[in-house]
């Protein structure tokens, strides 16, 4: 036996300060040691939690992208919040439509008076286009340049209209994919042209092609209002009833609706009915949120995944604590108080699940931000949303909550351990 050194044994001071700090740190150290020593078991038990958190975060992240895609789709149709639409005035007594020129002037005044950044008129018509294999009718929409921003118009090739297109002698047009294919799928860099028939036929230049839309076989085209005015006959212009759209801040939408209605009605004179309505997808206050259903389904899936992960962890934690009863008894004999044992077991679970949660969130970010996944979920987003911070926080919060809940049962079991029996276990 090695000779024992004959020096006095160190004696502990009876009372020391800072007990709470060392108590907390001690519990963390204890929990970390436990994780370090049983890393294989911990790793295995946490795979389920990590996968659950990853799935939860991914579902929320992908849900945000899908929701954005749905919103953009709605905005393409009815404009971005808040889009106010001024319909052509009419006289209820005579049934006459208002003068388009007066309406145009009133709309321009409104835009200037209320400093509306994006506005424009739009009207639908059919144009006759001369293709190589004959003349075909094209569903056309005459718009202003701002329409592209207001309706998130996205082009698959080429570009949307710009201000200088207003000055072209050969009008610019943006066509559907079917239109472009009918032209023979020309390279837009070659400035392909098409003859539009009318009073004075003009040659239009295709500057952009809309993305491929499934099941869309129609020939469609956008043309600028100014270009259409030079193409249309006086009769067509007289019969045109353009509507005006104004993109205004949502919080001012109600107020501006009334003001625009008042101003245009004043410009038209007595007896004219002027309608201004909000038409974007958020217009239906109190109605059903169009994105609510998709969010509900995704939330349901995420919660189910999380519950499954939590159940797996609780199961493993309970089995583990039963295997550790002897160790807990030994620790109690060294002065570990019941709250300390409870806290340490809880902390062990929480520390482990937070680590698993961080890993799950990192993987989820990698999945959701992957361009392949993004295009699969929502092809052609114009405003790709950043990874939602709330999804990451939700994932971490869920991991912590699962850790606390999963640790609660084993911690209660650990506290109820009878020290004497545990040591002899």
């Amino acid at each position: 036996m090695t000779e024992l050194e004959k020096t006095p044994v160190r004696r502990a001071p009876r009372r020391e300060r800072g007990g709470w700090a060392s108590g907390f740190l001690g519990a963390v150290v204890e929990a970390w040691d436990e994780l370090r020593i049983h890393k294989t078991r911990v790793l295995l038990s946490l795979i389920g939690v990590g996968v659950a958190v990853c799935a939860l975060t991914s579902v929320v992240g992908i849900g945000a992208i899908a929701q954005q895609a749905q919103i953009e789709q709605l905005e393409r149709g009815s404009g971005r919040p808040a889009t106010l639409v001024l319909s052509p005035p009419y006289n209820p007594e005579t049934g006459q439509q208002g003068d388009p020129a007066i309406m145009a002037e009133a709309a321009a005044t409104v835009v200037e008076r209320y400093a509306i950044g994006y506005a424009g008129s739009t009207q639908w018509m059919q144009l006759s286009a001369q293709f190589r294999d004959g003349v075909s009718l094209v569903d056309a929409q005459a718009v202003d340049v701002d329409y592209g921003v207001m309706h998130r118009v996205q082009v698959g090739q080429g570009r949307w209209f710009v201000d200088r297109d207003e000055l072209r002698l050969a009008p610019a047009i943006v066509v559907s994919d079917q239109f472009w294919q009918r032209l023979g799928s020309p390279d837009l860099r070659t400035h392909p042209t098409i003859q539009l028939l009318g009073e004075d036929p003009v040659t239009a230049v295709v500057v952009g092609v809309l993305p491929v839309q499934p099941f869309d076989l129609s020939l469609r085209a956008y043309i600028l209002n100014s270009a259409y005015a030079s193409l249309a006959t006086p009769e067509q212009i007289a019969q045109a009833w353009p509507q005006y759209e104004f993109w205004v801040p949502p919080d001012m939408a109600t107020e501006l609706t009334d003001l625009i209605r008042r101003d245009v009605a004043a410009a038209c004179g007595e007896g004219w009915q002027v309608d201004v309505n909000r038409q974007d997808y958020l217009a239906w206050e109190g109605g059903e949120d169009p994105t609510a259903s998709i969010r509900m389904v995704l939330a349901g899936i995420a919660v189910l995944i999380l519950i499954l992960g939590a159940l797996g962890l609780v199961n493993i934690s309970l089995v583990t604590v039963r295997q550790r009863i002897r160790e807990i008894g030994i620790r109690r004999s060294f002065g570990a108080t019941a709250p300390r044992v409870f806290f340490a077991v809880m902390m062990e679970s929480v520390v482990a699940t937070v680590v698993a949660g961080v890993a799950g969130v990192v993987v989820a970010v990698a999945i959701v931000q992957n361009p392949v996944v993004r295009d699969f979920v929502a092809f052609g987003l114009t405003d790709v949303p950043p990874f939602p911070v709330e999804a990451a926080l939700l994932g971490l919060g869920a991991a912590t909550a699962v850790g606390a809940l999963a640790g609660l049962l084993p911690a209660l079991v650990a506290v109820r351990v009878k020290v004497i029996d545990a040591i002899r276990y």
Partner: protein, 250 residues
């Protein structure tokens, strides 16, 4: 002032058929600072129950326990745990080292429940204690790589790192061979003496009991002082009788 006093302590448990089993009957014991007490008894005599009561792990059915002349029943559960951690060191028959942790980590374990300097300097305190018990060269060894004697020495170091005033040893040599057991007991005795801690050894080995200064026998729950030299003589006589060839007498 006595370190620990038991006054008429009893402990009984209810049996499944409703009857009561008296494990300890009217135990009176006073332990002073620096005392060395041995308690011998057969299996089932109530030794472990007494040890648990002495170590504040269990409460008596009746009677009083006083630590530093202060009745333990006044302590809250948490105060009792803290008192145990600070003032009492346990040494178990089966060593009870924590698996998967090195000798150093095992020796550090009680210091996780200390505060202040003891907590923050736990590694150096534990290393120093392992050096003292002659295991400076085995600090990184896992328990399953240590011999029985080495494991018990780690357990001794672990019991002493917080500088307890009372060391409770439950069959400290029960899992060791005679030579190793003797060396471990010598070490334990030395360390207890140097630190001024009281040592209570519960054993059924008369040789181990003989190292103490005061000797008790626990028989069917009753604690009584014994003449250990007589018991030892009887034990040696029995050993010799077994060692001699048949037909010879000692």
């Amino acid at each position: 002032m006595s370190l620990l006093t038991l006054e008429a302590v009893t402990r009984s448990v209810a049996l499944p058929d409703g009857a009561r089993l008296d494990i300890l009957k009217g135990i009176d014991l006073t332990v002073e600072v620096g005392d060395h007490v041995s308690i011998v008894g057969r299996s089932g005599s109530g030794k472990s129950t007494l040890l648990n009561i002495l170590g504040l792990l269990d409460s008596p059915t009746s009677g009083r326990i006083l630590v530093d002349d202060e009745p333990v029943e006044r302590f809250s559960s948490r105060q009792r745990d803290r008192k145990r951690g600070r003032d009492i060191g346990f040494i178990f028959q089966q060593f009870n080292l924590l698996p998967g942790r090195t000798a150093l980590e095992n020796a550090m374990t009680p210091l996780l429940y200390a505060s202040g300097r003891q907590f923050f300097s736990r590694a150096s305190i534990a290393a120093e204690m392992l050096e003292r018990v002659g295991l400076g060269h085995r600090m990184s060894s896992m328990p399953d790589k240590l011999s029985g004697g080495e494991q018990q020495r780690v357990a001794i170091a672990r019991a002493l790192v917080r500088g307890p005033r009372l060391i409770l040893a439950d069959e400290p040599t029960g899992a060791l061979d005679i030579e190793t057991g003797a060396s471990v007991m010598e070490l334990l005795d030395d360390v207890a003496e140097q630190s001024g801690a009281a040592l209570i050894t519960i054993t059924h080995d008369a040789n181990v009991a003989a190292l103490a200064r005061r000797h008790f026998r626990l028989d069917r729950g009753v604690l009584a002082p014994v003449d250990v030299n007589r018991a030892l003589a009887m034990s040696e006589s029995a050993d010799r009788a077994l060692a001699l060839p048949s037909g010879e007498s000692a």
